[in-house]
């Protein structure tokens, strides 16, 4: 699927460029795009290296366990099939907290750690598990308590009240999260998406 989107982006961009007379801009994009991607990666690399390091410290200092315990009711609700001692839960909780606080930079490393732990107990390693989709919805819906970036930009352009969008954003992203989770749950039940918490399935496969 992603390969079709990828080729589609190029094909549509190049062909439309011919008709629209923007081929020189397309040409520039081909040459400069890779460079920009590396710039983004270098920016991302610094954040990733620092925060995965700090996360490891937080994990060994039992900080993540504490967070996890505090937010158990929420994670129980979102990931009902994961056993309370599943290693992914700590990272799922930290990922959720980083998103809530508007710390996108800390969310990616925790999300990736959670993905890896979920994949470790995924009964069908080629198919994404139920919990992975939940994590995806939680991240793409952008549910956040403090939308730092947008309030900063509004301040920059001299808004009378930069944080007046605070409640509307909370409302809109809340609706998005609930809607996304609802669709995800209905679809997953219909298609019988495997769960990373299905230890029984895992054991059966190991015996084979």
């Amino acid at each position: 699927m992603i390969h079709k989107i990828w080729m589609g982006l190029f094909a549509i961009g190049i062909v439309y460029g011919f008709f629209n007379g923007t081929t020189s801009a397309v040409n520039d994009a081909i040459l400069a795009g890779a460079q920009e991607a590396i710039n983004l990666l270098i920016y991302l690399a610094g954040i990733m290296v620092f925060w995965t390091g700090i996360l490891q410290v937080a994990n060994h200092a039992k900080m993540l366990d504490l967070l996890c315990k505090l937010l158990t009711p929420v994670t129980r609700f979102l990931y009902p099939k994961l056993k309370p001692n599943h290693p992914a839960l700590k990272y799922l909780t930290t990922n959720m907290v980083s998103n809530l606080l508007g710390l996108g930079s800390a969310a990616t490393p925790t999300g990736l750690k959670a993905m890896k732990e979920l994949q470790a107990t995924n009964p069908e390693p080629t198919r994404p598990s139920f919990e992975m989709y939940t994590l995806l919805v939680m991240n793409t819906a952008g549910f956040t308590l403090i939308p730092t970036t947008i309030i900063g930009i509004r301040h920059m352009y001299h808004s009378q009240n930069p944080s007046e969008v605070f409640l509307p954003i909370l409302f809109a992203s809340g609706v998005t999260t609930v809607g996304g989770l609802l669709i995800h749950n209905i679809y997953s039940r219909m298609k019988k998406i495997p769960s990373s918490g299905d230890v029984t399935v895992r054991k059966r496969q190991e015996r084979r």
Binding site: M1, N20, L66, G142
Partner: protein, 173 residues
Amino acid sequence: MGSISVYILPLFLLAVFIMAFINKTNAFDHFVEGAKEGMRTTVSLVPNIVGMIVGIKVFLASGIVEAIAKLLDPILTAIGVDAHVLPLMFLRPLSGSAALSVTSDLLSIYGPDSGVGRLASIMQGSTDTTIYIITVYFAAVGLSEMKHALKLGLTADLIGFIAAIVSVSIFFG
């Protein structure tokens, strides 16, 4: 709010180090160990991100987003939505930085407290870069079946845009 959020990261870091001190763990060794893993993950993501970003850049440079926006203009005007936010709706799932630059353009042209400015602010704040998140998260564990994930993520984005429009009419109507 902006001033409170400045304290979150430093306080979190401080809490981590206090907990590490209480539990007598070797913080720096654990930091290095974890950071190495982060480094490996980032390096393994280089091809995915480079490939995706060049594709998105080519798509945007052709000017097709503006053309589609123009095409859909009458429909949006009919339901009372300013068509100027359309490029933002197309860009938001594709590229965080492109969406952010469109939003700041809109805010600088129409003013942050105008109707367009508020709608753009709420749209920017209430959805996220779906395609980027799916690419990075799925590539990190080597999953290739993204069809359903894309459908799910893009549907959530659509819900987000509708919720943003509704939200504007509730709070600023």
